[in-house]
């Protein structure tokens, strides 16, 4: 986990999320069809695709927020459809989600936000509840005085960090990040990428990151999966993406912005 080798052979690694032949649609519109995807333990997977292709839909389908029409999703070796409500609750403890807008509870302070999942799922003493919440808040790079602020008093970058602290509250195995660097300035985005990489190493996380940020893809992602036409167009390390000759991937990874990111990232 420590020495992350992007091009390591993936066959002998544990698959932590296994999506098979999934189909999701709304009304008579099918968004995902026959999609397969594996996420391996301990990797940072970058998930790219044009807007409206269903990146968020897949994330939400895995999390059970959007019903799927067909296919199976296995997380930590368990088929999500076969779980009893109690097992399902247990499963939800193993993942944390950073929503695009943060989705912090606006009536609670940052610290209370971080404590919500702890109070729900764990039996902690008041002292530990306090200390752990502060620890998580510091781990994501927020100052202690941010702990007692309300979300409306935070800047965009601080909201993302606070939301990440909440996502990490239960020490999950998997973290889903929905466009974590969108809305941040390039320096803030770079810092956030670094933070994710650091936390991934310390906590042994598996990170599933929906992103548009080419810099993130170059600097922190071990592997990239590209979504298009309702399925995975290509997956693999950045080199594989660059080598692909699918038209959308070519324009994505060889466009003007991509060249700038490559120059910066390499």
């Amino acid at each position: 986990m420590l020495e992350r080798v992007p091009s390591a052979p993936t066959k002998d690694r544990e698959v932590i999320i296994r999506v098979r032949d999934i189909e999701v649609g709304f009304g008579d519109k099918t968004i995902l069809k026959g999609l397969d995807l594996d996420v391996y333990r301990g990797e940072i997977l970058g998930f790219v695709g044009a807007s409206g292709q269903g990146k968020s839909v897949l994330t939400r389908a895995i999390l059970g927020l959007v019903p799927k029409r067909a296919g199976t999703i296995e997380v930590l070796g368990q088929n999500l459809d076969e779980l009893s409500p109690a097992e399902r609750r247990l499963m939800e403890r193993h993942w944390g989600v950073l929503f695009q807008q943060g989705a912090l509870f606006s009536a609670l302070t940052v610290k209370q936000n971080v404590q919500v999942p702890m109070r729900e799922h764990l039996d902690l003493s008041e002292r530990l509840l306090e200390e752990l919440a502060m620890l998580k808040i510091e781990m994501v790079g927020l100052k202690p005085d941010a702990a007692d602020k309300l979300p409306s008093e935070l800047s965009g970058g601080m909201i993302k960090r606070a939301a990440l602290a909440r996502a990490l509250a239960l020490d999950p195995d998997i973290v889903f990040l929905d466009e974590p660097t969108s809305g941040l300035d390039p320096i803030g985005a770079g810092d956030f990428d670094e933070l994710i990489a650091t936390l991934q190493r310390t906590l042994g996380l598996t990170v599933f990151m929906v992103t548009h940020d080419l810099d993130s893809l170059y600097t922190v992602c071990d592997r990239i999966a590209a979504l298009g036409e309702g399925r995975i167009l290509a997956e693999g390390p950045i080199e594989a993406m660059l080598a692909s000759d699918h038209p959308w991937l070519r324009s994505y990874f060889h466009g003007k912005r991509a060249r700038a990111a490559m120059a910066g990232g390499a």
């Binding site: 606006s106 764990l122 039996d123 902690l124 530990l128 200390e131 409306s152 906590l203």
Partner: protein, 381 residues
Amino acid sequence: MAQSILAQEPQLRIEQAGNRVTAFLAGRWTAEHARKVEALAGEISSQADGHHLIIDLAGVQRLDTLGAWVLDRTRHEFGEKGLTSDFVNASQEQHILLNEVAYRGFQELPKVKRSRFVDFLVDIGQTVAEAGSDLVRGVAFLGELVSAFIRVIVHPRRFRGTALVNQLEQIAYRGVPIIVLISFLVGAIVAQQGIFQLVRFGATPFVVDLIGILVMRELGVLLTSIMVAGRSGSAFTAEIGSMKMREEIDALRVMGLDPIEVLILPRILALIVGLPLLTFLASIAALLGGGVTAWVYGDISPDVFLTRLRAAIGFNTFMVGLIKAPFMAMVIGIIATLEGLAVAGSAESLGRHVTSSVVKAIFMVIVLDGLFAMFFAAIRY
């Protein structure tokens, strides 16, 4: 599989050799077993107290931030007592985690000592001061509203006719069924009680006077205003409040549009036009309800009812109710928009302002009605 994860509780074995105590840990030192982890850490502290401590992590299957935090806290406590303590046999990942977590005391935020009594007084003082500033804001806003209105009269092209019609539909037209129904029922109930009381004096026919005057002067406009404050006042506050939260009001401003002209004036004008219309309908419905009851309970036929009604009420009775309506509309509209503009940030704040919009509007409507009653009594109208 998830069950077996839970099964392996944290375990502890303590061995002592001379002044050196070794704590052998095993199992999962994770958040699921928080109480156990804390208890075992306490056991390490108490049993190894006064000795040098070695914490052996060889048997630990999983260590998360909670486990690492508690262990490092224990180590830190030993350090403070001048005793050495060390981790041995930690895997590389555990090492990183222990370093990253690195126990430190979080400084307690200074807690201000408060006395309940002083708090109570402060609360009262603040409420009074807020009520005062509410009044000032209300008057200032009325001024803004009037100047916006004059601007619109000078430049009629800036007037939002479509918005006005749309608001009229929302406020007046869609409010008709419920307001008519409620007024009909209240009219019927008041007439019934009136008959029951008046029959003892053999004065049953006077129920027509009672109903006519009460409904025309007070009930019609009061019921309508309260219903409109609940229906439309709350809607205004919620609409304007959520637009404020999502910076839509600022967006209007930077486009050179005046939010008062675009959003608020049409709403308040619609209220000022709509409320008298609704009051008229409400009064008719209440009279109808009273008439039906008078016929059923008091044996007063519709002809008799109408003849007596004509004698009992004059044009001034009708006008007293109607004159009040636009003022009620103004008060409801101003309170609703001010509360909407005061919304900040959270969803909770939106809820609070919608509630206080309705409560304040109903309160002010009743106060205003009382003032009007005194006024009309003084001028004998």
